[in-house]
Subunit: 320 residues, 2 copies
């Protein structure tokens, strides 16, 4: 097999990318992020046929054009909202992603955030650490999780996994999705997402990111969720009107939020850090050793498979 | 109905004890803890026929003897290991408790601790707060939860609820109990608890407290659990040999622990506070508003019912 040139973009942890395997089969170039393209020589740019991409910055037409031989972008992750699909189509560049592998981890994180904000786990830890348990006795009471009404916005594979876990907490499941799904008849379907928000205690956002869902969860949703509502987001920060979310959190117009994702990452809005009604994590929903290893492996296999037989394993749905 | 004298012992939060209801039906005395008995006058002690008890200090023969008319101790909580049952029997004092009501909350807390230690939720929050997300990028990878092998020590009602929740995380369930239970045939039963520890990734302790289980989870259990094992305890601190647990945590001979209970509360061993492989909470598993309200209500009903018809609702099993 002809040895092709590939470019790794992104900061990969050791388990995420088996560099020696790449090197056995390809000529390998590597940069930390898209800005690093400047450091590549013209004749290298011209030789690159595949990119293994990990990142959350825009990968669009002007950047793609810099790689005249590029045939495939293999994305590390299930979300590829920063890669412009239409631009790639124009240039005949295939995009692959790593679906499903991380569903369990992301659903687990949704439950962790839900328990974290409801049961005030950070406050509980501080209650011990600060000596208040000793001086003041029991910590303030918090909010029961089991037996609640939960709503899922977006019942794709991750939304489904969240719902399955919630069921074991004796939860009523309500969901919004563009179409009614073939799921348990106990799960209540809503055509109108704001109606869903009105009818639940806790809202889980499991929508796909990208232009179509930008700011989808607007002020109206938050108002409908109401003073006793909890919002959990493990999808993309962009799906929420973040200013409105910060406003209702500051004014206690919702009960609280559990968030793994933000509009700007890692430079998140500093208003988050002053709130006592959020439970926040640094976009780590899929950050387990097992899962990242599997994601890195699939990212590699997509490229290897493309050059072996023209058939990458997991092409994005828009290109199937 | 004759107005009886009752004594409330414990620090009750407002939702936990409806004082005005007590006062409508009883003469009410109240003290914060057993030490407060000293402040009661002899003729008051002699009139007290019922005690509504909330606390974690020893309630035994010498103390019970101080109340010559005492007929019932109504415990706030499912654990009554600090009330000496044999002593109460000798004095013909009934003991009631508040079972089942808090099963869901305690099982929810077990899952919260499990997610907390596995997914490094405290580290995740610190990663944002300290600015490391911005300066260093992603946080270190952590440990996948779904698809693990979990063991439950003690498959009573709370252990069962934990197992049901774990199943939704695609977990293999193994359990130890004095007798094999009539549960899903997929759940693996062990007669030997150390064998159980050898065969699982994560161990959940849901044993009953008290003399019979004191130090039950010994060094051998921890050794069998091994370097990659996580231990979760939501039952009583006394069931673990705490020094051995602290030793293996300090020496990283187990992966970590999620703990809501400790041998000494609230003055927990300060060695816990230096560890980076624990996720700890201040005995707050049942501390939700809904559940504490229901516990307080049942505590009251046990007393009221006893004086109405001699039949309290939930007598402890040893006295049935």
């Amino acid at each position: 097999m002809k040895k092709r040139t590939i470019l790794l973009i992104g900061k990969y942890k050791k388990v995420e990318s088996d560099i020696s395997r790449y090197k056995r089969n390809f000529f390998v170039l590597a940069i930390d992020n898209l800005l690093g393209i400047k450091s590549l020589k013209k004749h290298d740019l011209e030789k690159i046929e595949a990119i293994a991409f990990k990142g959350h910055t825009n990968f669009n037409f002007p950047i793609m054009k810099k790689f005249p031989s590029l045939k495939i972008i293999s994305n590390f992750g299930v979300g590829y909202d920063t890669i412009n699909v239409e631009d790639a189509k124009k240039l005949n560049i295939l995009i692959t992603f790593t679906p499903d592998i991380l569903n369990d981890d992301v659903a687990d994180m949704a439950i962790a955030l839900y328990l974290g904000i409801s049961r005030k786990l950070l406050d509980g830890y501080d209650w011990i650490k600060s000596g208040k348990w000793k001086s003041l006795g029991e910590m303030p009471l918090n909010r029961k999780v089991s037996g609640s009404k939960c709503g899922i916005l977006g019942l794709g594979r991750i939304g489904f996994e969240i719902a399955k876990r919630l069921e074991s907490f004796k939860t009523e499941i309500h969901y919004y999705s563009r179409t009614k799904k073939n799921v348990s008849s106990n799960w209540v379907y809503y055509e109108n997402p704001v109606e869903l928000c009105k009818n639940v205690d806790n809202l889980f956002i499991a929508l796909k990111g990208g232009a179509a869902t930008k700011g989808f969860v607007s002020k109206n949703f938050l108002k409908a969720l109401g003073r006793n509502g909890i919002l959990i987001n493990i999808s993309r920060g962009s799906v929420i009107d973040e200013n409105s979310l910060l406003d209702v959190l500051e004014k206690k117009k919702i009960y609280g939020a559990g968030l793994d994702v933000f509009l700007e990452e890692p430079n998140i809005n500093q208003r988050y850090l002053k709130l006592d009604n959020v439970f926040i994590q640094p976009h780590q929903a899929s950050a387990t050793i097992k899962t990242r290893q599997a994601m890195g492996d699939l990212q590699y296999q997509n490229i290897a498979s493309y050059f072996e037989n023209g058939k990458p394993l997991t092409v994005i749905p828009e290109m199937k």
